[in-house]
Symmetry: C2
Subunit: 217 residues, 2 copies
DNA sequence: AATTGTGAATTCCTTCACAGCC
DNA sequence: GGCTGTGAAGGAATTCACAATT
């Protein structure tokens, strides 16, 4: 275990490794190696080893990694051995889609509350029975429900205000879907999923397609 | 204009610069500089200049950049001066949320069709009247509607199959929301928005929040 | 005087290659 | 023999700093 600063690239790859291991475990594989993983899932074996050794020595030289053990380690490193309660601000199409997202159901992430400022949306419930509160109840509900992750699913104009209110409410991590780059206090983790950037990037590569010419000898 | 390979980081930042310029233009600003942009929007001025010069010399030394001109250039570079027709595969919560997403309405991206394999979803329409087709009509509808971007909004298990079918149908760019890393033919642009990775990354930073207190072994 | 465009310096990330261990 | 863990090398992205330009 190093005290070195660990890059977000590494953390994101740990999620990928964990997924690969879950697939292997599901098909009954008990032992694997960085090379085997790299080949099956198109990764780089040295990178797998380097990423893992930031957190410990999980392998056995000459043998490889025990799938069950490594899964357990990655789950713990990523904090997936705990419940994380989520509050979604914005009960429009996106907010409700996230609240109903089945990907959460079997996982450690649990949508515990929804918030909106539109009177017409108050009281609506998600498929699993989570109710839409007025945004003015944010502080109270976040505290009562022990919500730690806030999701911003409101229009760009309101995103900064919502981030500020979430921060005030004592939340420690925010996933923002609005196409803005909000300011946050240090200590509050912010991650933005920017649909507009993704589409515009695709648009760029459509325009100048033919980027990838034939590889020289 | 260089022939150098341009990184995706640069392209993504161009989207951000364009947004900033749109804000400036909306408040009547006609001229700006890399420093002014950097200060207002928390960017790095050298990076702005370097990013822009991959595509041309848009500034005037001693003066800065003309907001209207630079917007026009970025719009053209990103291909936002053209319509891009989108087909969404998967008419569940996420697919319908994307189809109804207002961010598209005033932009150059237009959702032209929805697809699903569930009989119960066929014929449903989005708010703007786009109808859900059976996935078997993909090839025909993609051709008829001149769809160039495919969106994958299906469960992980079906994502690779959908990517293959989209590729077969002649689409040139894919935005994937399933938590997998599908294989694509070279020439087809693929971008994955991985919710699971984002949440797991936030979870990680929640666990070890505050690099000051390392956990004992 | 002010700001761009850019080579050089720096920082960060990835890959190589091999010593060390099973 | 085979595989991990890792220092060193290589490559990419960012930032610095200044000559060139208006």
């Amino acid at each position: 275990m190093k005290t070195e600063k660990i890059s977000e690239f590494t953390i994101n790859r740990l999620s990928i490794y964990l997924r690969c291991l879950n697939l292997l475990a599901a098909s009954g594989v008990t032992t694997t190696s960085s090379q085997a993983l790299a080949e099956q899932f198109q990764l780089n074996s040295a990178q797998i080893r380097k990423d893992l050794t930031y957190f410990g020595e999980f392998g056995v030289r000459g043998v490889g990694y025990n799938v069950t053990e490594l899964r357990a380690h990655l789950n713990e490193i990523l904090g997936l051995d705990r419940q994380h309660r989520i509050g979604i601000v914005g009960a429009g199409n996106l907010g409700m889609a996230l609240a109903n997202y089945r990907g959460f159901e079997h996982e450690c992430f649990q949508v515990a509350a929804l918030f909106d400022k539109e009177a017409s949306r108050l009281g609506i419930t998600s498929r699993s029975g989570v109710v839409v509160h007025h945004i003015d109840e944010l502080d109270e509900v976040v505290a009562r429900q022990r919500i730690v992750i806030g999701v911003v699913a409101v229009p760009a104009e309101n995103a900064q205000e919502v981030v500020d209110r979430l921060t005030e409410s004592g939340i420690s991590a925010i996933l923002n879907f609005a196409p803005v780059r909000p300011n946050t206090r240090p200590g509050v983790q912010l991650k933005t999923m920017d649909l507009a950037i993704s589409f515009e990037s695709l648009s760029y590569f459509l325009s100048d397609s033919g980027q990838d010419g034939p590889t020289p000898p």
